[in-house]
Symmetry: C2
Subunit: 244 residues, 2 copies
């Protein structure tokens, strides 16, 4: 049973208050580093797995993509995404990404922003993405960093005065389900090691062309909680390519 947390009205309402929901890409600390990993979209067919509000779909469209398909398990997410565009080149489809099916070589670019850590079975998805891409195609995604997902709570350790002590790592090589608190609600996420994220890509046939642990940009470090993000890696950005 795939979790559809974002269709929960309370959770969705809280998510809608986040900077990345209100401001879009410019409100997301990792956007500038992710953008630098994206290929040229001009004339491309693009798939966005877990598209949420559709910010990345609209970005690809704005960069000249020929066609963009955004998929998400959450109807509420897609309702919002549809309200935000009238581009005839963008299509939204409600589906869990594990259930998607396309002919081989359907897309030039597959992107996914902070969604793959909700997927239990990473390997079959990566194998699908490899098939769905044309030779020379790009797979660029962000996930929560394995350091961030290993322990489970996704929270700092604090001293008796409530000051941050450090970020805890444990159970690193024990992959699988974690119950994290996100926006004050319990959410199921899946921890995988860095080794698994990368080896699965290589084994599927991808070449890895870049990897970045995102850091908040200088001009966002005064925002609440941002300076602390220099103390631990929270997000992992990976750019892979299907060889020609």
């Amino acid at each position: 049973m795939k979790e559809n947390r974002y269709d929960d009205p309370v959770f969705f309402e809280k998510y809608s208050q986040m900077d990345r929901s209100r401001k879009g890409l410019e409100g997301a600390g990792e956007w500038r580093e992710l953008k630098a990993l994206l290929p040229d979209f001009a004339g491309k067919e693009v798939l966005d797995l877990g598209c949420g509000y559709g910010w990345h779909c609209r970005y690809a469209d704005g960069q000249g993509a020929r066609r963009v398909l955004g998929t998400d398990i959450s109807r509420k997410m897609l309702d919002t995404a549809r309200e935000k565009t009238d581009s005839a080149r963008i299509e939204y489809r409600q589906a869990a990404m594990e259930d998607l099916s396309f002919p081989d070589s359907s897309f030039d670019v597959v992107i996914s922003s902070l969604a793959l850590h909700y997927v239990r079975d990473y390997r079959p998805l990566v194998e699908n993405v490899f098939r769905w891409l044309r030779p020379g195609g790009d797979f660029v995604f962000s996930v929560e960093h394995p350091v961030f997902t290993a322990y489970g709570t996704q929270d700092w350790l604090y001293d008796s005065n409530g000051e941050i002590l450090c970020f805890p790592v444990d159970r690193y090589f024990e992959e699988g389900e974690r119950i994290a608190t996100f926006l004050g609600e319990q959410v199921i996420k899946y921890h995988r090691t860095l080794t698994t994220y990368l080896q699965t890509l290589w084994q599927a046939g991808f070449a890895i062309r870049s990897l970045v642990e995102s850091q908040p940009p200088e001009d966002m470090r005064s925002l609440p909680g941002m300076k602390e993000e220099l103390r631990r890696p929270m997000m992992l950005l990976i750019a892979a390519k299907k060889p020609l």
Copy 2:
């Protein structure tokens, strides 16, 4: 000033008692995973940066390398290394790896086991290795994992009963010197992010062909301290290739 900790008699004596010193490669928890990343050595010219007792030099020699050069800053390490072989194909040279100089395209394989985290300036070294390698050559190395080096102490956090609570991460994006306690002695090591380890290789011109966070093999998990190594990543193994 490059630190030469292994020529300190007390430190050297303690190091000589470790399983990896007494038993060699089979006593090192990461050896089987590192071995799997190594290229075929037959007929190759090999450089080992920070060769220590020379275990990897003798392995390359045993696998048919044409010539093996092992370098280390520590005279005591090299004295022990020389005692352990009479192969005419192995040469040992005392030098800090930052001070080495070779003509372009001098080697087919450059290896380094758990030494690069003692090097302050990683980028110029990587650029040198790229030049020293022939096209198609391999650079395979292990380092302490960024998760292991970030906080600094390289020790667990414990509860009031002395039980392990978790492994602490902090100052992750603050690269540079850390004073760690190793074998009861203070040692200077350098923390770098995973991003830096990989981007520097790409920027120098390498392709990255594998990355593994080593886990102790099943049959070593009963050894003291080994089971805990499933709770955090301690070592990072990377295989890079200079394109043809």
